[in-house]
Amino acid sequence: MGQKEHKHHHGHDHTEPPKDPALRVKALESLLVEKGLVDPAAIDEIVEIYETKVGPRNGAKVIAKAWTDAEFKDWLLDDATAAIASLGYTGRQGEHMKIVENTDDIHNVVVCTLCSCYPWTVLGLPPVWYKSAPYRARVVSDPKSVLAEFGTELPAGKKIKVWDSTSEMRFLVMPQRPEGTDGWTEEQLEELVSRNSMIGVEEALNPGEV
């Protein structure tokens, strides 16, 4: 068999060991720096922002405020983009927001079956599993089995709504406020709002789980 027949049509041979991604990325960065297209300090700054400033604690503040402030909750459900911006959370991958509220009858789950769309302004960067093929494939067709992998079992009869993020709208789940939290402050409640509860694969933590 000639060299050509060994190759796939897309130009490389899958029997070759894949290039180490660390080396590949390093080569690309050094090329782009040499070309004057990328400043490595800008990359450091991006990483710093998502490691320390923009993450799921932002979303937890939004949800805890909605749990304690009925007026804010109404605003959030009516115009999530504006209500969230009022707390200072704006920008990339959060330009257009919608809140979906869990109730006694409805449980919401968010996915992006086509790529990895995710509300960065309130949740930060998505976890590996959210971007993974099995999650994206299965949560729309068999959400119960997906929730079970997260240890989440819903009461019988509760309807599951799955929100597939196919546009630039970004969805954030408002979990139900846990029992036994009457009189808790917003700051205390924030601790119960896990990232996974705002994606919808888990419920909010109970007071004993913090």
Partner: protein, 220 residues
């Protein structure tokens, strides 16, 4: 395109095996930080938009797309875009060494660390007016057109040909199928509700909501 990225309903991919939230690091290797940063900083050069970028990742061979980690897919997309826009050659990417410089006006768009926070804070809203008529109203029953476009689209395969109900109108938003070709046009965007049983059969015990643009839909 009917690519490997369009995953809704695919079988055989195995368990998700999620890491516990409290134990999961934000990055799993140092190179992932650089991959994130390179994706964003090259995007800031303004030579492509988000749909062109998504389409670059989707156009990988399905074997590559499905065997790569997500940041590897991002890198594959950036490399493809750099070559297609003429900012780098394949050989330069393989070697990491510059052979020819890029025009100064593109270098001038390089973003420095002091500009990053403002750019991320500002984001890029994608709603703007269209001349198209709104066509559909909340409560309308609509069918997703049976179609198999070879270019970029945000109508997932699993809803094509199926009937749903318009439950929300979001306004007019940049239309990905055209934006991915560099044409900045907007069209009306709706949230459409589907009964999982219509899509998956009797076991489809789920209500699915998908955002769909006017050109994807036809009234029942």
């Amino acid at each position: 395109m009917n690519g490997p990225h369009d995953l809704g309903g695919m079988h055989g991919l195995g368990p998700i095996n999620p890491e516990a939230e409290k134990e999961e690091p934000l990055f799993h290797a140092e190179w992932e930080k650089r991959a994130l940063g390179l994706t964003l900083t090259t995007g800031f050069l303004g030579q492509w938009n988000i749909d062109i970028s998504r389409h670059a990742r989707e156009r990988q061979h399905p074997i590559d797309y499905l065997s790569n980690s997500y940041y590897e897919n991002w890198m594959a997309g950036v490399e493809k875009l750099l070559v297609e826009t003429g900012l780098a050659t394949q050989e330069e990417i393989e070697t990491g060494k510059m052979q020819q410089p890029v025009p100064q006006d593109i270098q001038d768009k390089r973003v420095g660390p002091d500009q990053v926070a403002a750019i991320l804070d500002k984001g890029g809203p994608c709603d703007f007016p269209t001349d198209q008529s709104q066509t559909f109203q909340i409560g309308d029953r609509v069918r997703v057109k049976m179609m198999n476009p070879t270019g970029h689209t945000r109508a997932p395969r699993y809803v094509r040909g199926h009937v749903g109900e318009i439950v929300e109108y979001f306004g007019s938003f940049i239309y990905p199928d055209e934006n991915s070709k560099g044409n900045k046009v907007a069209d009306h965007l709706y949230n459409v509700k589907f009964d999982g049983k219509d899509i998956w059969g009797p076991d489809g015990d789920v209500e699915i909501h998908v955002d769909l643009w006017r050109p994807y839909l036809e009234k029942m």
